[in-house]
Symmetry: C5
């Protein structure tokens, strides 16, 4: 989850409703997938011209337009005009630093979500903004990054005709999209959980300064993940309480299921946050333990050799009258005493578990 | 409580309502216990064929089907179809990573719980998912793991005819099942509490790096236990507030009692969490204390022997004119001075309680 | 406050409503005090036979039965039957591990409280369960431990006829009992506060490993005290909001006063909890300070004697051509230099406040 | 803020409504100031006899009785009887350990507040209890300590006739009293803030064990200040929501202003609490930093002199065949080598910023 | 954000409604900008005389008076009188230590906000108070500091006629002012975020005592920023819920957008607060790591040279019968043994990663 705060300032000072893409993606192509289906038939294509996108849904069909990649502002603008979306909606779609939110505009419902998917190198995530507009017989979805398709499983189910997706109305499609986003969180949670467990192992066994950086990073990732999912709880409960004609009663039970999943994700995230917070404590305990070990070595060495060196020093003195010096067995005697002292000390420390 | 996050991803991408067993149990047999009773008679058997399970309850009897072990999906599917359960209910029963929850489907009530039972080796717990379906005159219960029967005491009371269980309707049976799950928490709490107390003792007296791992583990266990019980509070208060025909007024007072017990369990868990959190502080204090002790030894040794070695060094110098060296009593005099210094230092440190 | 979790498991597996004494008190006698009074007369006796207890209150009188000691289950059972109490109420009275609670059974109100009183040895508390049943013209009170009478002051006031107690109805008596329990908290708070202050003094001045254990114990005591009092806030506000015939309007203003006292107790307890939590920080700071002091001594000694020993070592070398050695004033000169270095170092450290 | 818990126990065991002064003030005189005013005239006097106090307010006038010093219980009792106050109100006025509270008795409103004023020696506060009774055309105020007049500014404004105070009714006077109490908090906050800043400076630069005690004391002061102000928020919002004839609509806007001030005070206090909590962390960081500095000195000295002493030791050995010893330039050579090693080490440590 | 508590006391003791400037700005000129516009024309000037300011807005025009700099109390007083503002409103405008707030006075709405803008030197902020009064066809805005214009972008848009600003009524102008303040927060957040990241880098790599001060400062800045923005959430949700004629329904959707932005700002601030709180932990971990490194150096040096010095001491003893001393190869042999011991020790420490 790259820090996106800086890109936000592109907009400062512009009149509200100005359409500017605020995000970090490099300019790629914007892909518009058109899909119109009913229980019996399905028509799918990738649109080449913008005018093709702006067709009213066929009678009895559900229309799904999926716009992947937001750098092409014209596309969004044109679709917005055709489907009669409020200018603030278009602005929100393009501003990919938005917090997840839900708004009911009467004719259509508007939801902003964050898709979280892990990227290859260890334990890092990208949060991609996804906006969904649910109208009477159409669903519009906008994905920020074109390299990743958050809705692949839904697309595949639509094609195969498996499940009840083709038989249902637009609201069920919107639910399916929401569901696939929330299902994606579980995958990300797994990666996060594994990463945390590995870090914990590292923190206990062999903590370097690098580990500290890693721990801090993991903590931040967890917090940012949480920030992406947290508002969803309120949003889902808002949708469930919402009384509007766009969502059928029978779909509600499915939306409640999504709500349950969101609560579960948040539960796990809270636990992960506790684990991440505990990592630093473990790391610090590890450092303290190692410091203790080092100090014990130092103390043992000092305590053994200081008395011995002192004794050697004594017999190095140059007094004329030191009877031991002239004694035939003085030298071996002193060496023996030294050995006794040294070995005695070592045994003493071993008994106190310092060696 | 093994971490179950990873098994959750089996489901990602499947259409909602797909029946897949999500859990960690190895494949064992699925045991279906049939029990139909009224005040006067009781009929109990372990069913061999699935068709036997799907019998409508006898007039005036309460039917209890207990399915122990969830790996046999067909059983669940068949029973679900016979008792007309929603597909999402079946999905929830089979997905043993669900958060505890309660839902009222009109014709039946559906509750998911976690049974927590300690396993043999020190202070570890298994959280087993249990689902209960309460219909007009039947109760269905689903247990995740076949090696453990969470409802043994209820079964035994039914057989013996003790208490009012046989005289009451299905709602009282459902209450009895809930109650036996919550009673099980108290046993687990005891094990947890003893474990924490032992760890605290260890942390104060003889903390090794192993203790650190143990403390961390205990902290996690407490958190996971809490996660299993916490939602139950809301669930129970939801059931109590619920106005539905399936639960008689007279049963409500018993359910309120279960609610009180859940609150008590959570209270103790909160206290245990505080204790577990405090363990690390105690552990760190212990390390600091020991470091202090080590440093004192080092300082005492250094402070005693450094001056002595210095004096020996002085009289080891080779100056030609050192009057003390030729003095007859130089050597014993110096030795006496050294003894005075050494003993004086030792007494000084003893007075400061460093020795 | 002894840890009572373990005794709870006596009940596991029994049918709900089974009367078993769950607690830790040894088996003592159960004392039943009978008291029937009106404004003009009072009749008091300690009952010897159970049948005497089961007398309907006299017309116009208020009856107060105080059962002190719960080991005699028959007494509780008989009284319960006579006054027509719900079996769960009797179970709660006997299970002294219950959380404080309040329930309105229509004919009577039922309150469970914890009396906290300090025991002789430093800063320890016992939490005794007290149950109060308020009926139309009677009050039943049940005390767990017979050696301690939580209601002595009420009894004494009744006898003396002081205050308005004798002129009022049963609800005022129940209030007086509640009030005397809450007043007892203030005494316990004082003991707790003094204990904390003494520990704080110890932690700053002379922290031993024993202090650590004491601090930890005080923390736990505070938490358990809090657990005993905390639910009372909700209970009192529940009683105040309750609209029932058993409590007169004029009594309500007194119950609000009790509520205020409970809030005050909780306030002080929260402050005590902060103090207890801060004790460990102070203790750790003290250890760090002492470690610093030790290290300074070590460093000073090392820094003074290492250079001196080095110089002595230099003039202990056996080179043939060392002009200083043959110089007449070499020895006093070197000694003087050593003295200058040693004293200089000592002064330097004194200026840096290390000595 | 002296700890007042202990004085509370004077009351334990007394019947509710007993009038006993609970507080710490020594017995001083009780001063009763009488003030009756309307827009045109004002009459002020210090009352000598109690009977003078008990005069009904003049027609069209507002009466303000300010009782300063609570040790004279008779005064309070007499006034209470004359103005027909509930016995619990009188008890609360005299019990200066009460939590701030607000109660509507129909005929009059009753507010308990804490006045916080700094006392001369650094950063300490006294919390004095002030009770205000607002009747139809009178205001009674009770101050705990007679040496301090919390209402001096109001008194002065009344005399001078400045502002709208003289033109308004009793409710505005009560507001003015409240306002002057809350204004006093800002002065106390300033003293507290300066104290905290000074402590922070001390903690960073020169932390002694005394600083630790000071920090702990500041933390406690902040908490106790908070405890005195915190309930006021709820009280003020209670007064604002209150619909009663005693407070005119036009006064409400002023009370809302007081509410805003209280919220501001709490805001600053919360920030101060964070600062106070952070002080210990800074203090501990400071200790750690100093420990590091000490250890570096020790290590530098040891690392420089140990090799030198070793070399001197080598040439102090008494082997017969040590060619260097007889070499003419052996001594200066060795001295030069030692100098190179010593200076090299010192430079190395300087480069690592240890010196 | 300079600490403004001290300036607050200027007001203590004054009657409520007294107009005194409470703030820290030095006395600069007060600039009054007059702007009257409709869709077709705009009239802008800086007013020289106060009387010019007090002109009723032209029929069909929207009037915007922007008062920049509050030291000139007369201006505020005169405008207040002309537009008929409550005296408490004027007092609040001049008291720049107020908490953000919103009040509906019927004829006009009154909002106090804090503008946060970074000042040149690293990571410091100034919080400037801005008050907005929205009347039927006029908007009054008051800025505390004249050197900074928080509304520059609005002014510029008005002039250019870009956007819908000129076409809309006074409520939209008020919205635009609010929006520009909230947009300013994002800029400040960026500066804050960069500062925190830099500090984190510093804390990990090279923490000096200065870093500690910087960290503490950053923590405080974050808290004060939060304090400035936090109340805005409640204020905005209050405005949105408000039903009044002064704000058109069509403007509400824009205000909801501002509300969303405020929530986003608070989200980022909460994350920044976590980061700031984590900095100290990192700093302390860094110190501990460095201490460990220092101790390892000390231990390695001591452990290598102590045995060597001891051996040299042994052969410096003056016993008459020490066969090694007269042995031809004694000296090189001992030197070789010493080298083996020294190199062996060094290798041993390298293997344990201490070197």
């Amino acid at each position: 989850m790259a820090n996106k705060k800086s890109s936000r300032s592109k907009k400062a000072g512009l009149p509200p409703g100005s359409l500017v893409y605020v995000g970090e993606g490099q300019r790629h192509e914007t892909i518009v997938s058109y899909c119109s289906f009913n229980e019996h038939s399905i028509e799918r294509k990738e649109l080449s011209s913008l005018d093709e996108a702006c067709v009213a849904p066929k009678e009895g069909d559900v229309l799904w337009l999926d716009i992947n990649g937001l750098q092409n502002i014209e596309v969004v603008e044109k679709i917005g005009k055709f489907f009669n979306l409020h200018s603030l909606v278009l602005e929100d779609i393009l501003n990919t630093t938005k917090r997840p939110k839900f708004e009911d505009f009467g004719d259509y419902l508007f939801v902003i979500l964050k898709v979280v998917h892990p990227i290859s190198d260890g334990g890092r995530f990208v949060a991609e903004q996804v906006s969904i507009v649910l109208g009477k017989n159409f669903v519009l979805s906008f994905q920020e990054i074109d390299r990743h398709d958050a809705f692949a499983s839904v697309r595949e189910r639509l094609n195969s005709g498996r499940g009840r997706l083709r038989r249902m109305a637009a609201d069920y499609l919107a639910y399916a999209l929401l569901d696939s986003v929330v299902d994606g969180y579980f995958d990300a949670l797994e990666v996060l959980g594994e990463n945390l467990e590995q870090l914990e192992h590292e923190a206990i066994t062999s903590a370097s300064e690098e580990t500290l950086t890693e721990i801090h990073h993991a903590k931040r990732q967890t917090l940012q993940f949480r920030r992406a999912v947290w508002p969803l709880r309120e949003i889902m409960s808002g949708i469930i309480r919402e009384e509007c004609d766009l969502i059928a009663k029978s779909t509600m039970v499915y939306l409640r299921d999504v709500y349950d999943h969101v609560v579960e994700v948040i539960d796990v995230l809270e636990a992960d946050r506790d684990i991440a917070a505990g990592l630093l404590e473990i790391y610090l305990s590890g450092i303290s333990n190692r410091l203790n070990a080092v100090m014990k070595v130092l103390t043992v060495i000092t305590t053994i050799f200081m008395p011995l060196t002192f004794i050697a020093g004594v017999y190095g003195m140059n007094f004329e009258y030191m009877p031991e010096l002239t004694w035939r067995y003085g030298y071996p005697m002193v060496m023996a005493i030294m050995a006794v002292i040294g070995i005695g000390m070592a045994l003493f420390f071993r008994r106190r578990h310092w060696l």
